[in-house]
Amino acid sequence: MTLYLPIAEMPVSILLVLAMGAAVGLISGLFGVGGGFLMTPLLIFSGIPPAVAVASVTPQIVASSTSGALSYWRRGQVDFKLAFLLIAAGSIGALAGAKLFAALGSLGQLTLVIAISYTIFLGAIGGLMVNESVRAMLRARAARRRGEALQPMRRSATRGWIHRLPLKIRFRRSKLYISVLPVFALGASISFLGTLLGIGGGFIMVPALIYLLKVPTSVVVGTSLVQIVGVMAIATVSHALASQSVDIILAFILMLGGVMGAQIGASMGQALRGEHLRALLGLLVLIVGVRFALNLVLPPETLFSITTLAP
């Protein structure tokens, strides 16, 4: 059963797109991530033009983050002041990202920049995640062998340079008194990357909030989800304005698949231990990164790339 996509201007198989949405939804439900970093490459590798893939995954990320954000909100686990500051900074990053995205598209260099960025970011973050979770697993095993309870990891008590910056404001919910500068830098840079690459950036934002800003873990995920909904909404509008490559039909089918898959994934996730989940997620991120790296290094099938510009 095929469906013609009006913006991508090509027919696709509905079932294939639905299945991709469900598979990525399952993974995002399982690991508590947005899944954009998987969805965008899957679409690109299945023949959707990279511009349309990135721009259409942004509204899909809005949909997949909304229900999560709402449930954290109901439980009071969102620091709204922090989220809105991140979104405000993020709007600048999203606009810049969409502008650069449109410019790279008309230069015919978008695919290359996406491939290089995915290689670097997914490779680095996947590597760190695998490394961290394997260490955690080894520590847990050693502790069990000695018959002790696992000691919680010690956090450094010293406050880093980030906490000595000026323009401090108070975040009551997070019980923090920190400078707005790192908050702005974080919000703007992650949304810039997210808009350019078609990812929500939760898997960068969550560790950054925990380790750089020392936001308490109880509000981290909720705050990050609200931030993702806000920033990806701005990114969607920016893409619609700058490159007109948001395919609302493609996005909607992905949303349907994603919403269904996420529920199954969430219930599967209950059965797995935290460090195992993190190791698996790290491995997955690493594999996508390596896939992009291979694309860059291996000789291409055709020596020419062809981009249709304006009529």
Binding site: T2, L3, P6, T66, S67, L303, T307
Partner: protein
């Protein structure tokens, strides 16, 4: 002055002379192709008949027909990939300002030589001559044509025109799924031997229809509202999904 008048008179004589009295009548099976939600490509039939009035000199050989179909022009950037610092990157590329998004060339088998021979009279119509043929760009042009050919957007069928009788012919124009919308021009040429004896032109239109068209136009004319609409749809779907599955 008198020279010009003499030339004009001569030209009028030639135009009225019975050696040029064939006329071509052609018709397409449809003059509109609608791209809807289930569009996966289609075919268009072209029928034609050669009409001769009674004064027309009898031609010793058969008529040969060439049909060229040209879709709306597009600007295309063709870049060559090269290895830099160990990875494959695109160079700045060559820009082709007006390449047809679709090009189909169909002919009776007898016209093959007219198109394929280096000095054939219809050489300029051949797929190999599409775009400009100057040295450095030639490889880029060939790559572009090859990709379009693989997508079914460039077609050359030199036995694609079927003669149903001495003066009646038909051909099928295959239109692939990745079809650009806009006006398509169809040129029909009639040859007797090496001589072009008649030609005619007609058009058909390819356009998105119904929902697909409205979505496309919406995204182009009011992109701000299109973007906001996409966000609203996403928020709604996410919310409904959350509610439905929380109860279930």
């Amino acid at each position: 002055m008198s020279g010009i008048v003499r030339w004009l008179a001569l030209a009028l004589c030639l135009a009225a002379s019975p050696t040029h009295a064939e006329t071509l009548s052609v018709a397409l099976s449809r003059d509109e192709i609608a791209i809807g939600s289930s569009f996966t490509g289609t075919r268009l039939s072209l029928f034609g008949v050669v009409e001769r009035d009674e004064n027309t000199v009898a031609r010793p050989g058969a008529y040969e027909v060439i049909v060229a179909v040209r879709g709306p022009d597009k600007q295309v950037l063709v870049q060559e990939r090269m290895r830099r610092f160990g990875i494959w990157v695109n160079d700045a590329g060559e820009l082709f300002d007006k390449m047809p998004s679709y090009y189909g060339l169909f002919s009776t088998p007898g016209a093959r030589a007219l198109i394929e021979d280096d000095n054939g009279v219809a050489r300029r119509l051949s797929l190999a001559m599409l775009g400009d043929g100057d040295g450095a760009r030639e490889r880029h042009r060939a790559a572009l044509a090859e990709q379009h050919r693989a997508h079914g957007l460039y077609v050359e069928e030199l036995d694609g025109v079927e003669k149903l009788s001495r003066t009646f012919f038909r051909t099928e124009i295959p239109l692939p799924p990745l079809l650009a919308d806009g006006p398509y021009r169809v040129f029909v040429f009639l040859y007797a031997g090496d001589t072009s004896v008649a030609q005619t032109e007609l058009q058909f239109k390819v356009h998105k229809t119904g929902f697909e068209q409205r979505v496309y136009e919406w995204s182009r004319t009011t992109p701000l509202f299109y973007g906001l609409g996409a966000v609203a749809l996403a928020l709604f779907t996410g919310y409904v999904g959350g509610v439905v599955f929380r109860r279930g």
